[in-house]
Amino acid sequence: MTTLDMLQETYAALSANKVRTGLTMLGIVIGISSVIAMISIGQGAQNSIQQSIQSIGSNLILIQPGAQRGPGFQVSSGRGSARSLTQADADAIAQSVPGVAAVAPEVDGRYQVNARGTNTNTSVIGVDPNYPTVRNVEIDTGNFITTQNLTGLSKVAVLGPTTRDDLFGAGADPIGQTIRINNIDFTVIGVTVAKGGTGFGSQDDRIYIPLTTAQRYLAGNQYLSTISVQAQDTSVMTAVQQQITTLLLQRHAIADPTLADFSIMNQSDIVATASNVTGTLTILLGAVAGISLIVGGIGIMNMMLTTVTERTREIGLRKAVGAKRKDINTQFLMEAVMLTFTGGALGIALGWSISFLIQYFGVLQTQVSLPSILLAFGVSAAIGIVFGYYPARRAAGLNPIEALRYE
């Protein structure tokens, strides 16, 4: 039997009952497309989280007050409640730890902000002029906070683009306008460039004011909520983190490192933790989709078993005219594989479209990867073989006389 014959026979058999073939295939289409879509969503989420982590700066080490919690996201309610970091700590790090490129202390809080009748509740961060370098913030129009602003306790503010849109309308020029934060007037001196990224505390919905102003008029104390340290390069990060820990323990007169009143983590810890979470998410989504794929496979098996019973006489006839066990076996296996393969191809197209639509409507930046397509193809072919094997064997094993006698 030539390959062409085989394909013709398979096509004829599958097109004999188009509705049933279509429905059976649908099971595989749904299975494969959900695998593709789910993995693309998982990977998209992973990429977007990693991107937003990268966008907060590079070679970053973050020190926050409060007990060490190990790598992970800090619960924001924990911040500020512990008061342990001061400007002096930040200065000491900048002066005595080798390998440090820049230090940016900050204090943050959420306040009611209003301007010309509009109001919003947003995060207000007191920063110093190092902040843009360390945390990768770029200015779009106007200026960022300067040393003069800091020493003069100026009531000036730099808006994130989202905050600007909320207060003044999209694209408006707010420079020189006045906003009220916590009932204190501030003059807008600049707007930052949009960083994108939603959720996880958007970096575009913020107001930056001078650190000293924030401490004096908003927080009412001299403590810091975060010290961001930028290491000179990736290779020294561990050493820098180590030395900062030693320095701060010594400055705070704490002997036992497990009792530290600050927590310190570096960007790669955060990336690792986030990848871990999204990796689990991807596996979970993939597993759910995988189950639907197996259900689809069982559908194939069911259809093939029905087909074998229905076509018993045909099988008997084929055997009577000289088909061998192997010929029958291959033919039925081929039908199952063809079914899953076509279903797989349609499923890939559908899954791709789904993830494209998700991206198109801005829900998430999805990513269809080549390995997931290859995986889907391999899996669909394998499902055809696995779930087609038993029915095909049953067909091949039929006794020709009994098969011909079958009513």
Binding site: R313, R318, K319, I401
Partner: protein, 236 residues
Amino acid sequence: MIDVQNVEKTYQAGTTMAFRALKGVSFTIQDGEFVAIMGPSGSGKSTLMHILGALDTPTGGKYLLDGKDVSTLSDDELADIRKNKIGFVFQSFNLLPRTTVLRNVMLPLIYDDQIPAEERERRAKGSLHAAGLDEGHYANLSNQLSGGQIQRVAIARALVNDPSLILADEPTGNLDTKTGEIVLGTFQRLNKEYGRTIVLITHERDVAEYAQRIIYIRDGLVLEDSKNHKQRTSIS
């Protein structure tokens, strides 16, 4: 070419019951003979045909086809014999449903790698011609044919692998007398003009009389084996 020596077939029905459908049958058939195997219902005719056609093996005795002992062969070896030497015409037509006449006739050839695709179609048309089906029906689907036409397609399919032995089990069972005669005439023509060996199975004397020789079996035994001196010929 056919040498049946004391062939027995016992069907095992359940664990204890055994049924002896053939109880020691012996005869020989020469190349080019047209033989009818006749007998009442349940006498073992179909069982015998399955053995003659290498679809089944006997449980006792010996069956030599062209000098080769078929009773000891494996499934695949039997399939090879059927493919190369035997053409079946089944009692119930057994065409592939929703498939064209031409594809139905070509079916036995797709299991033979030696025959190229163009050759297949040529051969299929040749045997359809020999079986006497009008060329206008070649592209019809199998469910668009009359009973007589279906039987001709079945005969054409039995011829297409150029078999030395054609076995027909009640080929006229489902046909009216007129169409039945035409089909029987086709067998006679195949026998005379193309020199095929034909074994025709029937329970009707009228039908058996188209053959040159009649083997009469009953209860799994040969009762009579004689030349048919008053061979009938079809008008067609």
